[in-house]
């Protein structure tokens, strides 16, 4: 990350203040920070605690409960593979294994070079087009291991740039597209 701790703090504060929904809670504030920064840095957790007039401990307890929050900066690109039962029946596992192998990963996570985050999603909501994936939050249906690898290459070769923020912060996983 190129931003300073103060810069992150200011961005988190702005995101919390400008969250679009009427009722502000710890959870809604956390979602807003993650949407803005792409993850929840310690400064963000601290700002949420200040805004909600509570302890970082309390905030942390909620943040660590929901698996869509992440606490380190996401990779440049996010590739999601649906592992729900429909996609499973239609062949999600071979796709996943192919991607893991190509990325040199053993489980979902980030590649060491920070290029790709591979995420398993419990349901992308497009069961009619299973097996489904998303590349930088763009949905893609009727996937196959070959199509998945081709999509990954297209992503990495820069045909489809990530929705980059101003200074390296990325759109949130599953957030605004």
């Amino acid at each position: 990350m190129t931003t300073t701790s103060d810069g992150v703090r200011a961005k988190a504060r702005e995101a919390i203040r400008n969250q679009p929904y009427k009722t502000h809670t710890i959870l809604s504030s956390l979602l807003a920070v993650q949407d803005a920064l792409g993850f929840l840095p310690p400064e963000g957790l601290d700002e949420v605690a200040r805004h909600r007039n509570t302890t970082v401990n309390e905030v942390w307890g909620i943040a660590s409960f929901y698996p869509n929050f992440r606490f380190t900066a996401p990779a440049k690109h996010v590739v999601e593979v649906c592992w729900g039962p429909t996609c499973h029946v239609m062949g999600a596992q071979p796709i996943l294994r192919g991607l893991l192998q190509r990325l040199g990963l053993h489980a979902e996570g980030d590649t060491p070079d920070g290029a790709v985050t591979l995420k398993m999603n419990t349901c992308l909501g497009v069961c009619a087009h299973a097996p489904a994936m998303s590349f930088d939050h763009r949905l893609a249906g009727h996937m196959s291991p070959q199509k998945a690898l081709a999509g990954l290459e297209k992503l990495r070769s820069g045909d489809q740039p990530a929705h980059a923020g101003h200074d390296g912060a990325r759109t949130a996983s599953g957030g605004a597209r």
Partner: protein
């Protein structure tokens, strides 16, 4: 009719007539359409219209339900048949614009259906296998209107129900109407909606909440999200009517974070209603005031449970509460609350508009009205269907869904989501009825129907469902937290060919404990997939778990859940952010407890 509704209706009719006076092209850009490439088609269409200098209205509509035919482009040109083009590619767009829109010659070879059947060789929409027999109530506007246009919604009878309730019915009459209609909750429990409302109506607190639940974490179900992205106003109207009937002050639409279209469209529908005087103070000049907002939750399946949902609305961990007190007494923010599924609420406007008798005339004796089924898996026409209760599963799957596409045998249906069950093909003649299905151990649940052909391993799929249940257990009560983990371990052993002779008995014991001892439905129903699979396919399970030689099932790569025993390996969020706090314990493994691929 209220004085305030009249001008709105007039304006809406004007807009509707205007839309039909020139070319109107509707592209399905819901989640389903986007996954099929509708985004690129829409882009190409806009570019082509401007290149060929055509004056046409382009609307992004939600899904029509005909997901197998997406991307769908629905072309209405005055003087020609309204034509639905299927599986459209960006390359086809130029010809559609040139021939149909400009030259007024519909392209029969690419057409899937027309509205009225006036194009030779192309069936009318109602005669498509998937459409024939559907009765659309909650989905009445699917694919017909721009989900963001209040006028288009009103032009098709929208807010007539609210107007009727506010201008001519008492609160009690509205509750009674809903009770008489026989409407039952569509979220899975199938409880009488009118009765549920009467609980809240009986509470005299000045602040009361109506919660509309679109958590929809059920893999295999996409009907709630579809309603919100296809016709959000019907949900908003239903929620306002529910508020009036029960004397509630606030409505909250609860949506899972991450699904952009449903969130965006619902938020904008609520804003439009505030602007039109349909929300806020003194609605339609009748003195009734009601507020609505959207609340987002992080990924959590248990958040769909009503008390866990209230915790999430309050911004906490979505863990269920003890009951009593029940939500109608102490709900969200300590105030009386009523929770309904999105689908349930979406029926309300039409029930009030057309009357309880009309709705009760659809369906069976005990299951009134229609249900929205999501067909996916090994099926020719995957998509969304709204069918009257009482049709058989066989008709739904083999006729409307087109059956198995590759000619293989259908083995079973997975119904009711990850806490639901397996319905073997031998029972396909079962009538779609809440009570009959739950008696057979196959809940209808929220409407997900996953069709599985003979190649599907029942043990493998059960393992995946349990992996989901295990990962999504919130961890509050141990029968669920440990029970789902044990069941998954046993199933993983079975898939790996390492079953122990006592495993079947052990599963049964664990399952019974979960059912009896869990705090909420997640643990109580968590054994359902296993028990129903065992009931229908005992032989396959026994063969897989026997010494004789299990059938190899490839290892399953599962998600890395933070809720899943990760503490032992230091692989937790805490470890990532606060490494100084981690005590590095090494996981203890014995020879018989090797970590599995999913562990």
């Amino acid at each position: 009719m209220t004085d305030a509704y009249q001008p709105l209706r007039k304006r809406a009719d004007g807009v509707w007539a205007g839309l039909h006076a020139k070319p109107w092209i509707r592209v399905s850009t819901g989640l389903q359409g986007m996954a099929a490439g509708a985004g690129e088609v829409l882009e190409a269409l806009r570019a082509e219209l401007s290149r060929q200098r055509v004056d046409a209205t382009v609307s992004e509509v939600g899904t029509t339900g005909l997901c197998y035919a997406e991307p769908l482009v629905d072309v209405h040109v005055p003087g020609t048949a309204r034509t639905l083009y299927h599986n459209v590619t960006p390359e086809q767009v130029a010809r559609i614009v040139a021939e149909h829109v400009k030259a007024q010659r519909p392209i029969a070879e690419w057409a899937h259906a027309t509205a009225d059947g006036t194009l030779e060789g192309v069936p009318p929409r109602g005669e498509l296998p998937m459409m024939k027999g559907q009765v659309r109530v909650a989905l009445r506007n699917a694919g017909e209107i721009d989900p963001l246009s209040l006028e288009q919604y009103v032009a098709r009878g929208g807010f007539e129900g609210l107007d009727k309730a506010l201008s001519g019915m008492t609160r009690e009459q509205v509750v009674q109407e809903v009770r008489d209609s026989g409407l039952r909750g569509r979220g899975g429990a199938a409880f009488s909606t009118g009765t549920k409302w009467s609980f809240l109506a009986g509470n005299k607190s000045p602040i009361k909440y109506i919660l509309c639940n679109c958590e929809e974490g059920d893999p295999g179900a996409f009907n709630d999200k579809t309603i919100l992205e296809t016709d959000p106003f019907t949900l908003v109207e239903g929620c306002i009517i529910a508020g009036y009937a029960t004397g509630a002050s606030n409505g909250i639409v609860f949506i899972r974070h991450g699904h952009h279209e449903p969130i965006e469209r619902t938020t904008r529908a609520i804003e439009a209603c505030y602007e039109a005087g349909l929300l806020g103070k003194n609605i339609l000049g009748t003195g009734f005031s009601y507020d609505m907002e959207v609340s987002l939750v992080g990924e959590s399946y248990v958040a769909g449970e009503e008390t866990a949902l209230m915790e999430a609305v309050e911004g906490k961990r979505s863990m269920p509460r003890f009951r009593p007190p029940f939500p109608a007494a102490v709900g969200v923010w300590g105030k009386p609350s009523n929770i309904n599924n999105i689908k349930t609420i979406s029926y309300v406007p039409e029930i009030v508009r057309q009357g309880a008798k009309w709705f009760a005339g659809i369906g069976t004796e005990r299951s009134k009205g229609t249900v929205i089924a999501c067909l996916s898996g090994h099926i020719k026409y995957p998509g969304l269907l709204e069918v009257p209760c009482g049709i058989t599963m066989r008709h739904l799957v083999e006729v409307m869904g087109g059956g198995e596409p590759s000619g293989k045998r259908i083995k079973f249906l997975q119904t009711g989501g990850p806490l639901g069950g397996m319905l073997p093909a031998a029972q396909l003649d079962m009538v779609l009825d809440f009570d009959e299905m739950s008696r057979a151990g196959a809940m209808f649940g929220s409407g997900g129907l996953i069709v599985c052909n003979e190649d599907t391993s029942i043990v493998d799929l059960t393992r995946v469902l349990l992996a989901f249940d295990q990962m999504e257990s919130c961890g509050k009560c141990f029968p669920c937290r440990l029970g789902t983990s044990h069941l998954l371990e046993i199933l993983e052993r079975a898939c790996d060919g390492r079953s122990r002779p006592t495993d079947l008995d052990l599963m049964d014991r664990v399952g019974r404990n979960m059912r009896a001892g869990s705090l909420c439905g997640h643990g109580q129903l968590g054994y359902n997939p296993v028990s129903s699979a065992l009931k229908a396919f005992a032989d396959e399970f026994k063969a897989q778990m026997s010494d004789a030689g299990p059938i190899p099932i490839p290892p399953f790569v599962g998600p890395r859940s933070t809720r899943r025993g990760a503490q032992m390996t230091g692989d937790t969020p805490t470890a990532q952010v606060y490494p100084e706090f981690v005590i590095n314990l090494q996981p203890v493994t014995t020879a018989s407890q090797q970590p599995t691929a999913a562990g």
